[in-house]
């Protein structure tokens, strides 16, 4: 147990110090930690396990609340745990049902049905049932599947590339996103198209992105951020990466994205967002700053400019909030969805009881 605590402490510290950042990195680290914690700890009932995972989750989320993927992974794991317990429960009761009449009609149906949404939620798991010893390994197995999903996320997304990108199109993107990079590279294998990359000041991650794309033989042009609106009329499609997708379909994406999406809307250019489902969060943005990170102003105004530093307040937000009406399509590892469909994905992937982690 203390060994577990040490591991949790370690990850908490790394998240807090921003030694681990980026949705993909943190979600894999979280999953790895959860596998260890679940397999090593002693638990017998569903509530014990749920409380354990929740308490770990709460600490991780507090360590860096802007890494929404951490919370998402924990919710996915909680969901899996509930499912497994429910299944075990229903198995046990169906054994009993052979002799007596069923008292658990809901447990026969799958959780994602309409009935489950409206009717009795299966969250009140029975604590008195003796669960089979295979339960632990089943849960671990399910979590490993999430892990595999995370590892293969790019493959699932990039396979849809040919449906989206056609020959001789001009694509615009911003910032550096591994997902978008893979997506474009996949399309470039079959088709010839042109990519415009906004340089994405002040991090200039767009320049790195352009370098990667041009290495893959894609015709790439770096444009200054200020030119985005000017060239938008010539663009056929805007393909964006994102840091997180919120429950309403809004994006938390690198700063500059909102400007690009707004320009695209003005010119009626379709905006496509490539994202793994692990970035989909059941949280709502209550204000535009709620999931943002305000960085060091150094990259905007050098610290050595003594006089100015005192007189000017510089905010350097790392992310933009992009409202859902700017987005036309989400391409996830489960296929393409319009923003209005996201609620359904949330229901399928997370349990409504886990949206907040109150113990």
């Amino acid at each position: 147990m203390s060994k577990n605590n040490e591991l949790v402490d370690d990850l908490v510290a790394k998240l807090k110090r921003r030694q681990l950042v980026g949705s993909s990195t943190v979600s894999q680290a979280t999953l790895k930690l959860l596998i260890v914690v679940i397999s090593r700890s002693n638990w017998t009932t569903a509530n014990q396990l749920l409380t354990l995972v929740k308490s770990v989750g709460q600490r991780l989320i507090q360590a860096n609340p802007t890494e929404l993927a951490v919370g998402n992974i924990i919710r996915r794991v909680l969901h899996v745990i509930r499912e497994e317990f429910r299944e075990a429960d229903s198995n046990a009761s169906s054994h009993r049902n052979k002799s007596t009449e069923s008292s658990h009609p809901t447990s026969l149906t799958t959780s994602s049905s309409m009935y489950n949404l409206l009717g009795e939620t299966g969250s009140t798991v029975n604590d008195n049932v003796q669960y089979p010893s295979s339960l632990r390994s089943n849960i671990i197995q399910e979590i490993r599947e999430i892990k595999d999903e995370l590892e293969n996320i790019y493959d699932n997304i990039k396979n849809q590339a040919l449906l989206q990108i056609h020959s001789n199109e001009i694509i615009m993107t911003i910032g550096r996103s591994k997902t978008v990079e893979e997506f474009l590279k996949m399309a470039a294998a079959k088709r010839k198209f042109q990519v415009l990359v906004a340089e994405t000041a002040p991090s200039y991650s767009g320049q790195e992105m352009a370098l990667e794309l041009s290495k893959a033989g894609i015709e790439t042009t770096v444009i200054p951020d200020s030119a985005v609106f000017a060239v938008m009329s010539r663009v056929n499609k805007v393909i964006l990466g994102t840091h997180a997708v919120l429950a309403n379909g809004g994006l938390v994406a690198i700063s500059g994205t909102h400007m690009m999406a707004a320009a695209a809307k003005h010119h009626s250019i379709p905006v496509v967002v490539c994202t793994g489902l692990y970035k989909l969060s059941p949280l709502y943005p209550y204000d535009e700053d709620s999931f943002n990170v305000i960085f060091n102003p150094d990259s905007v105004l050098g610290f050595e400019e003594g006089d100015l530093v005192e007189k000017v307040t510089v905010t350097n937000p790392y992310y933009d909030y992009v409202s859902p009406d700017f987005v036309n399509l989400f391409i996830t590892n489960q296929g393409g969805h319009p923003p209005s469909y996201l609620y359904r994905l949330i229901v399928e992937n997370y349990d409504p009881n886990d949206h907040t982690f109150d113990l």
Partner: protein
């Protein structure tokens, strides 16, 4: 995705030493009751920032040196160590008086077996040390004599995060990353020594390119090798790591050690050395320069700060009244209540505070558990834990209100006041139960506390300032809310030129060149006056003047320029010509003065070029004499001719020199008076040209003399 930051894994255990004691008294009276490193900075103890900085650097073992209030530091470190993955040891030693003592103790205890990081307990930095460490290690492998790497941060001259008065001039070689010379700079340079930089010329031989930099913040983060503590033991008089150690190593030829630097640009690093820096660093943290060490990353376990627009950070349990206004750059701790119509801007407010209605707080730092009554106004001050301000109190800028002070209703506390509840008396004698005598002038009728006077200079402040004169203004500059314009008003007794000097560095340079010349002028004329008045022997006067010349490092030419006119001025035109043979020693006629003091001028003249120059000076000084004696006619000629002859007689000016003077261009230029004098000399020149080596001088001389006397 945000930039990824990786942790450098090292095979060896990375060790660090924190000097938790500041060895000065800038935060008094607050630091009389707790240690400097435990003061809350944006509601987090100062040393937490240092621990965090080291933890990010991958340090596994930390030694904390503490002296004053060691119990409190120890207790804090014990608690902190439980939730940290670093091994933290506290070393308490009451005898520590300086950094040097701590290092010697470190050497004696042999705690360190590898290169280590040396920081003070008040460093705030978001720097990652892996590159510095790497560079240091590579350099160490190549060259064993590279014993230390200093981390320097670039920032412009007027930067708020530069500790005023703690600046330093650093000479660097960018190619080898070597630090070549180090010199601390004071804010007010009163002595000549302060204004000058002395550097070994050898530096220029060894290094083709050097930089002299004043735009670096020295945040005293050093990577030291194991030799460093040993060197402190060897040189037992070293106190300060910079002024003594770095300077000592760099100027010592025997040790053959080198000190290197690492310049950082895009990261933050600063030390909370003074109340002024406390203010600056707090503002930097609130403005997020220290990211990710910002309030909303909740360094301290249990904190729950959240970022709001306008750089406002609030904890969950803050109660803000509907009509209160929280402007920009504010940090508010948990369970603090702020009532109607109170306005907060640029301030930090601790936990469990109560702030009444209609209170204005600007630029202030209010720690935990403070109660502020209605209608208070607080400007640019620090109010420590547990203080109570009753209704209508006004705190002016620059005040330090220490723990548990109570200020009675409707009191106005004047600027730069320091209040404490500790009874007066010897601060070290804590056993003595002294009664606190409250000072109603400062704390009001119902208040509790007394004004704290700073200790005398001698037992105070930086040990590196012990050398002689200490400008009191240098202590003021690093105070909270210190304003340069304030100094000029409050310190009128100080001579104006040093103030104006501080205003611009450029004018400083000018003064450097003119000042010594003026000094010399004054000194020479004083010496001569004394010689005239007290009838010194020529030898004695010459000795004095020569000493002056050497002291001011000036040439004989400079001296001639001053001595000749002074001697000539001593001539009193009104004085009667003495009878032949009755030359009085203190007579002031032309002849007498020349006889008496001519040899002195002779002492300043050595070779041919000196003579020509001397003649030129004589010509010019005589020409100017006319102005001194407006009522006399032809003064210049009357002095010049006999003087010329006298010097010729005495072989002070030789024939060739007089001729070359006469023919030189410079003697023919100049004012009309000067040209006239040249003409006066014509007969003599003619004579000289004719006579060659004949021995007929006497006759002519007499003729000349007759002429002179006729003219008189």
């Amino acid at each position: 995705m945000p930039p990824k930051e990786k942790m450098e894994s090292t095979e060896q255990v990375l060790q660090a030493v924190i000097l938790a004691d500041s060895f000065d008294s800038r935060f008094q009276p607050i630091t009389l009751e707790t240690a400097r490193c435990l003061l809350p900075l944006c509601n987090v103890p100062l040393i937490s920032y240092t621990f965090e900085f080291l933890a990010v650097a991958g340090v596994q073992e930390v030694f904390v040196y503490c002296c004053s209030h060691s119990e409190k530091v120890k207790a804090f470190v014990r608690e902190y160590g439980q939730q940290s993955n670093m091994r933290i040891h506290t070393i308490v030693s009451q005898e520590l008086m300086s950094v040097g003592d701590a290092m010697r103790d470190l050497d004696a205890k042999q705690l360190i077996d590898t290169d280590f990081i040396l920081v003070t307990g008040d460093v705030v930095s978001n720097m990652k040390l892996d590159k510095v460490l790497e560079e240091h290690r590579v350099r160490r492998q190549a060259d064993k004599s590279a014993i230390m790497t200093m981390v320097l941060k670039k920032a412009s001259y007027q930067h708020r995060s530069r500790a005023v008065g703690d600046g330093s001039l650093i000479v660097l070689d960018q190619a080898t990353k070597e630090c070549l010379h180090y010199q601390p700079i004071k804010a007010f340079k009163t002595t000549r020594q302060d204004r000058r930089m002395t550097m070994d010329m050898e530096i220029f031989d060894k290094h083709p390119e050097v930089q002299i930099r004043n735009d670096l913040i020295d945040c005293q983060i050093d990577i030291c090798s194991v030799e460093v503590p040993a060197l402190f033991t060897e040189n037992f008089d070293y106190q300060d790591i910079r002024a003594d150690f770095v300077d000592g190593i760099l100027t010592s030829d025997l040790l053959g050690k080198t000190i290197h630097f690492y310049e950082v640009n895009d990261v933050y690093a600063a030390r909370v050395r003074s109340t002024q820096m406390y203010d600056a660093v707090s503002k930097d943290i609130i403005s997020r320069w220290t990211f990710p060490m910002v309030p909303d990353s909740n360094l301290q376990a249990g904190d729950s700060y959240q970022y709001r627009r306008g750089l406002v950070y609030k904890e969950q349990g803050v109660v803000l009244s509907r009509t209160s206004v929280v402007e920009e750059k504010v940090v508010i701790g948990n369970n603090t209540q702020i009532n109607e119509k109170s306005v907060l801007s640029n301030c930090v407010i601790g936990k469990n505070c109560f702030i009444g209605a209609n209170v204005k707080i600007d630029n202030a730092y209010i720690w935990d558990d403070v109660v502020i009554g209605d209608n208070c106004n607080i400007q640019h001050s620090i109010i420590a834990k547990g203080a109570v301000l009753e209704e209508g109190v006004t705190i002016s800028k620059g005040c330090l209100i220490s723990f548990d002070v109570t200020i009675g209703a409707n009191t106005t506390v004047p600027p730069y006041t320091r209040l404490t509840t500790l009874p007066e008396g010897d601060e070290d004698d804590e056993d003595e139960e002294l009664e606190l005598i409250s000072d109603p002038l400062f704390v009001g009728a119902t208040g509790r506390g007394r004004s704290f006077k700073e200790a005398a200079v001698s037992d105070d402040d930086d040990f590196d300032d012990t050398d002689g004169d200490h400008d009191p203004r240098n202590k003021q500059v690093n105070r909270l809310a210190f304003d340069l314009s304030q100094v000029r008003i409050s310190n009128q007794k100080l001579d104006e030129d040093s103030v104006s000097e501080f205003e611009s560095e450029a004018s400083d340079l000018e003064e450097e060149t003119t000042n010594p010349a003026e000094d010399l002028d004054r000194e020479v004329s004083q010496t001569l006056e004394r010689a005239f008045r007290e009838q010194h022997e020529v030898e004695i006067a010459a000795l004095e003047l020569n000493t002056l010349r050497m002291a001011s490092n000036s040439s004989f030419q400079e001296m001639r320029k001053r001595i000749i006119p002074s001697v000539l001025k001593h001539i009193d035109m009104a004085a009667p010509a003495p009878a032949a043979g009755a030359v009085k020693a203190n007579g002031r006629s032309v002849k007498e003065v020349l006889q008496r003091w001519g040899p002195l001028i002779g002492k300043m003249i050595h070779d041919d070029s000196d003579q020509v120059d001397g003649l030129l000076v004589l010509q010019r000084s005589c020409a100017q004499l006319q102005q001194e004696w407006p009522q006399h006619q032809g003064v210049s000629q009357k002095v010049f001719a006999p003087a010329l002859r006298y010097f010729y007689d005495q072989d002070i000016f030789e024939e060739d020199s007089i001729l070359s003077w006469f023919h030189s261009e410079r003697s023919q230029q100049g004012t009309d008076a000067e040209k006239k004098l040249r003409e006066v000399a014509t007969p003599m020149i003619q004579f000289l040209e004719q006579s060659d080596s004949e021995d007929e001088d006497d006759e002519d001389d007499e003729e000349d003399e007759d002429e002179d006397e006729d003219e008189e």
